[in-house]
Amino acid sequence: MLFFSYFKEIVGREVVVELKNDLAIRGTLRSVDQYLNIKLENTRVVDQDKYPHMLSVRNCFIRGSVVRYVQLPPDGVDVELLHDATRREARGG
């Protein structure tokens, strides 16, 4: 549940969601659920030349299982906190 809790904390921030099919979408994180399904608002496709048909999309829902990476806002990452939380999660605590 670590990532779920973490992503909930950065709702409202701008992220880039990169899908397993190479499509990368920048947008404001609107919500995330326990399956890490992601809703984005004010979306822009990062590589607009490659995906012109996605230009029109303003908000979208992305299935958690097709997400490869989520690029986080640099100041939204508390490395120490995440480090501790990861250790705790690994211990099952």
Binding site: L2, Y35, K39, S56, R58, N59, S65, A90
Partner: protein, 213 residues
């Protein structure tokens, strides 16, 4: 479970899709007057959109043998598309996971010209649903979101991705999370963990209190 779009033709006498009631599939939403656009193919209409707790089904109003379905687990992304440059009419835009990324869709599209409507649909990667009344788009979007959440990824043993973390798929008792030595950890717990002593003291305390009463 097969990924991708497929033919759907099982209808009741009143034109509704036959769902898998025994496995708890229920109809969540019906939207009449919706046309469907698969990949780069021409728009097909008129039809009715049925959204169940498991899948999205579009049935032709004209040809009773014609219909398409795609499971929510195959829908990678959905969105409301309103830019006329991307598509002339506002629509629900979806991307479909086909399970075979190697196939070249354009080639498939060319072959399709000579074949019937149902050929090659399992390779379709994009689907647009165009309601004649675009004021229904937000509702449709929300129903899609709700149903997507009802359909998490089925567990696939060792291949199960960490992205699927849910309350249910925590490690089973006795299975370690990596290749660290579980026995060693338990040993550490016996030697160093103060918590057990604390618990004992608490017990003594409460025993004392009980005996005073």
């Amino acid at each position: 479970m097969a990924l991708g779009l497929r033919v759907f033709s099982e209808r009741t006498s009143n034109g509704e899709p036959i769902l898998d009631d025994n496995n708890g599939e229920v109809l969540m939403h019906t939207q009449p007057a919706v046309s469907i656009v698969l990949g780069n193919r021409p728009s097909e209409s008129p039809g009715t959109l049925f959204i169940s707790s498991k899948q999205v089904i579009w049935l032709s109003d004209v040809d009773r043998s014609k219909g398409y379905a795609v499971d929510f687990v195959s829908i990678s992304l959905h969105a409301v598309s309103r830019d006329p440059e991307a598509y002339p009419s506002p629509c629900i835009y979806t991307q479909i996971e086909t399970g075979d990324d190697e196939e070249d869709e354009d080639e498939d599209e060319e072959q399709q010209q000579t074949l019937d409507w149902s050929s090659g649909i399992s390779m379709i990667k994009e689907m647009r649903l165009v309601p004649s009344d675009s004021s229904h788009l937000e509702t449709l979007f929300e129903v899609f979101c709700e149903c997507a959440e009802l359909n998490p990824e089925p567990m696939q043993g060792e291949d199960a991705s960490n992205w699927n973390l849910s309350g249910n798929d925590v490690n089973l008792i006795g299975y370690s999370n990596g290749d660290h030595d579980l026995t060693h950890d338990v040993l550490q717990l016996h030697i160093n963990d103060q918590r057990f002593e604390d618990a004992e003291e608490m017990e003594h305390e409460s025993n004392k209190r009980n005996s005073h009463q």
